[in-house]
């Protein structure tokens, strides 16, 4: 179920995810392949899967342009 590679994507500095294989991804770590159906995501700033903007958290949406987005460069 590894289908999306976000390694080339500027994912929000506050996004975390735990995929079925236990890899803690995001933040300062490079984004690896994610299994989009089975990965648990959370925002560090809200400590849950609901972002500060009340929308849900996932790698494809926690990117530049979202109102609560923080670039990894500025975290």
């Amino acid at each position: 179920m590894k289908e999306e590679n976000h390694a080339d994507q500027n994912v929000c500095a506050y996004l975390r995810a735990k995929n079925p294989f236990g890899t803690l991804e995001g933040g300062g770590n490079p984004w690896l392949h994610l299994d989009t159906a089975n990965t648990i995501c959370w925002c560090v700033k809200s400590q849950g899967p609901i972002g500060p903007d009340a929308r849900y958290v996932e790698p494809a949406r926690c990117v530049s342009g979202r109102s609560c987005y923080t670039s990894p460069e500025f975290s």
């Binding site: 179920m1 590894k2 289908e3 994507q9 500095a13 506050y14 975390r16 735990k18 995929n19 079925p20 294989f21 236990g22 890899t23 803690l24 933040g27 300062g28 770590n29 299994d35 989009t36 159906a37 089975n38 990965t39 648990i40 995501c41 959370w42 560090v44 700033k45 809200s46 400590q47 849950g48 899967p49 609901i50 500060p52 903007d53 009340a54 929308r55 849900y56 958290v57 996932e58 790698p59 494809a60 949406r61 990117v63 530049s64 342009g65 979202r66 109102s67 609560c68 975290s75």
Partner: protein, 771 residues
């Protein structure tokens, strides 16, 4: 990086063991032989912390007491969906026993907490969502004080039922899909999987071939729908922390599966460097996937500590744990499989949906995609949002739900083709590991005595079933250990890695002892502290495979440093020295030796230290998996519907087994979880109020000791030649196949299949009535 070549054992002893040449980093140790030739590794060594645990000496997070410590509690929403109009904390702030009050905003970081106005109140999306916290002189005062907080809610429509949430017009958990909006700057936000109402997806995995063509070419096609329930984690130790905030840093005791993950999040949230945050998890009472990150409770404790200037303890009580700290999502799994007359699979198609409440991750994993040879595969997996607290990773996320469908349907296809289910797996499964496990397991279990389904006479019937599992060999490369040698004779291994209760401390001691020619009890293990080098998070069965090679590598480097210091004292050169039986010998001249302890006394410095990290897999990453085969025998009373699991035989592989007793212990735990999932556990929600009804152990059924069957394990030694220890974890694999092995055995007993978990007596009776 300099490389060297090693000749390593490769394969399964007694089956296909051979040797393989591997190019490895030049500073890694020589290859170990198979376990039979080792002294500490591969044996049933007693846990190094056994005495501390049984005497109560072991201190868990909930045992931590710091001077001046306060007790934190959180007020949680009683509504599944609401807007907060106002929060009045004036009365609680005047309470003499309360030293700090904090409101969680939309952004709960230190920067975000400066704005505690109504505009910053988050929308409530689930019952139990934390809103206000207090730190008081004791627990009871905190609980009483929270009653003084007044919150004005605007209650909104909600949906908690999976099927109702899918319907058009259902109350929305998340409003407009994000992809329809643009940023303030006009930049369109990148699309993720689509969201329609509360339905997100599908996730399509890695499809292959053409399933329609595959079904058209099939001689047999069976399609079924499998339903699984929500499953709680039930760790003995609930989530919680003790946080001590100071202007120059934070000290956090946490019940966590990732000390470095908690450290990094606290550092980000409270504006510290990672080096200013210390997280300690010396002992931990289970997590099963749910204990990652700081947690809203952790951040609340941080704010309360910052405001009060005192350490704050905030441990969830059992009700909070069950209501808010995660669960395994439920699933509705439609599975269609086609096969040829010879049994070969021609197409697999699956479609699933489930809910992780307000979170994602309700898929059915990749086991249907990966375990069996099949040229045509397609999947569609959907998440359904509901107004309930978020799910969490749970021991083999997705795979347990997926295996229930896959291994039920494979069983059914085997029967339709008139092939024994065990022999059928020989036809469709390429794994050499599972092939050996099937042979050994069947022999120990007595599979040959299995009768035709439903043929056992009388109202109380026996049945036998089996199921298999697959789990990838994943490791976490940012895993480092340090080994320290002390002039006074002490040998320590240190890492930030935490021990969830699985025995990480003991396997680290074994590995270091083996490398240094010492006994396991000679090694002191200091882990679970971010002052030490970063260890891996413990999830996905990655711990053993990630940290033990690092520990062995560090021990090897420390040994070489010691050799360089004492070689001259034995009139030799460092390259001629070796360790064994507590001594350092000159190779080929055993009379020239010195005890390890005496060698340490002659060190030039008081301490000698070496640090090493997990290197890339030798031979490169591969997609081979950790396999298991489990056999179950059950007794079913067809008059009452009562099911008793009589015995389980579990055959497993985890690379080089490091500690047999601990692996057996983990397998036992996985099987108990699996039986409980198959027969007992199920979260119940009142659809009208959104409340979870069975939030405590007096209402939420888990097995008692007398419901645990006889469990026999077969631990297959298997050498993939991938690292300096060649070890892998067993947490996930132990849990995947059990439930479906049990349900396949139930079918064999009564001749009627059950498609929904848990298999309660009512479902048995209903199925028999319909048969």
């Amino acid at each position: 990086m300099d490389k060297k070549t090693l000749i390593m054992p490769f394969g399964i002893p007694g089956h296909n063991l051979t040797q393989i040449e591997r190019e490895v980093p030049a500073d890694e140790p020589p290859a170990w032989p198979v376990n039979a030739e080792l002294k500490e590794v591969g044996k049933s060594v007693k846990r190094v912390d056994a005495r501390a645990k049984v005497t109560g000496q072991a201190k868990y997070t909930s045992d931590i007491q710091l001077p001046g410590m306060l007790y934190g509690k959180m007020l949680r929403s009683p509504y599944p969906h609401a807007r907060i109009r106002n929060i009045d904390t004036r009365q609680v702030e005047r309470h003499p026993g309360v030293l700090a009050v904090h409101i969680l905003g939309k952004d709960i970081s230190m920067a975000g907490s400066k704005d505690e106005s109504a505009d910053n109140y988050p929308e409530v999306k689930y019952i139990g969502q934390p809103i206000v916290g207090v730190a008081a002189l004791n627990d009871n005062t905190a609980i009483e004080a929270l009653k003084l907080v007044k919150i004005d809610y605007e209650v909104l429509p909600f949906v908690v039922d999976l099927e109702k949430a899918r319907m058009e017009g259902a109350p929305l958990v998340f409003e407009a899909p994000v992809e329809k909006e643009a940023s303030d700057g006009g930049e369109e936000i990148e699309k993720g999987l689509s969201l329609s109402g509360n339905v997100r997806g599908p996730s399509r995995g890695q499809p292959r071939g053409d399933t329609q063509k595959g079904f058209a070419e099939s001689d047999i096609v069976i399609e079924r729908t499998y339903v699984t329930q929500v499953h709680m984690h039930n760790p003995l130790e609930t989530h919680g922390v003790v946080v001590d905030w100071k202007p120059d840093g934070m000290l956090i005791y946490a019940s966590t599966q990732s000390t470095k993950g908690v450290r990094d999040e606290f550092a980000q949230l409270f504006g510290f460097r990672k080096s200013q945050v210390r997280v300690i998890t010396e002992y931990m009472g289970g997590g099963f996937g749910a204990k990652y990150g700081a947690g809203n409770f952790g951040v609340m404790a941080g704010h309360l500590s910052r405001k009060s200037g005192r350490p704050v303890r905030l441990m969830l009580d059992r009700k909070e744990e069950q209501l808010t700290a995660g669960f395994r999502p439920n699933s509705v799994h439609q599975l269609k499989i086609g096969a040829k007359k010879d049994g070969k699979l021609s197409a697999i198609q699956q479609r699933s949906y489930g809910t992780a409440g307000v979170g994602l991750g309700a898929g059915v994993g990749s086991i249907a995609q990966n375990m069996y040879e099949c040229p045509n595969f397609a999947t569609e997996q959907y998440d359904i949002f509901t107004h309930f607290s978020p799910g969490a990773a749970w021991r083999a996320p997705g795979a347990v739900q997926g295996a229930f469908g896959l291994e039920s349907l494979i069983d059914e296809i085997a029967e339709s083709l008139n092939i024994d289910p065990l022999k059928y797996r020989d036809i469709i499964d390429k794994s050499e590991v599972r092939k050996v496990e099937r042979q050994k397991g069947a022999e120990l279990f007595g599979w040959s005595k299995r009768k035709k389904a439903g043929s056992d006479p009388g109202p109380v019937k026996k049945g036998m079933g089996l199921a298999q599992s697959s789990w990838p060999r994943f490791t976490h490369l940012d895993s480092t250990a340090e080994v320290r040698l002390f002039r006074d004779g002490a040998v320590e291994v240190r890492s930030g890695v935490q021990d969830l209760g699985t025995g990480t401390k003991t396997i680290l001691a074994q590995v270091v002892a083996e490398e240094l020619g010492l006994k396991t009890e000679d090694i002191t293990v200091r882990i679970g502290d971010t002052l030490f080098p970063d260890g891996p998070p413990s999830g996905g069965s990655v711990t053993a495979g990630s940290i033990t090679p690092a520990a062995r590598n560090a021990a090897y480097q420390a040994k070489l440093k010691l050799f360089r210091q004492i070689a001259s004292k034995l009139d030799t050169t460092p390259d001629k020295l070796m360790t064994a039986d507590g001594k350092i010998y000159v190779t080929g001249e055993p009379s020239k030796n010195i005890s390890f302890a005496d060698a340490l006394k002659q060190m030039r410095t008081e301490q000698l230290t070496a640090e090493a990290s997990r290197s890339d897999d030798y031979g490169g990453m591969s997609r081979d998996d950790l396999g298991s085969v489990q056999f179950a025998e059950v007794t079913v009373d067809t008059e009452t519907g009562f099911v008793k699991v009589d015995r389980i035989v579990a055959a497993h592989s985890c690379g080089r087994p490091l500690n047999i007793a601990q692996i057996e212990s983990q397998i036992n735990g996985g099987i108990i979880h699996g039986i409980s999932y198959a027969l007992y556990e199920s979260r119940v929600i009142d659809d009208q109020t959104g409340q979870m009804i069975n939030v405590n152990f007096d209402q939420y059924k888990i097995p008692y000791a007398f419901e645990i069957p006889d469990i026999r394990t077969i631990i297959l030694e298997e050498y993939p030649a991938k690292s300096s220890t060649d070890a892998y974890g067993i947490g996930e694999p132990a849990n995947i196949a059990t439930a479906v092995a049990v349900t396949n055995a139930i079918y064999n007993a009564i001749g009627v299949r059950i498609f929904e978990l848990p298999v309660t007596p009512a479902k048995i009776l209903d199925a028999l009535k319909r048969a």
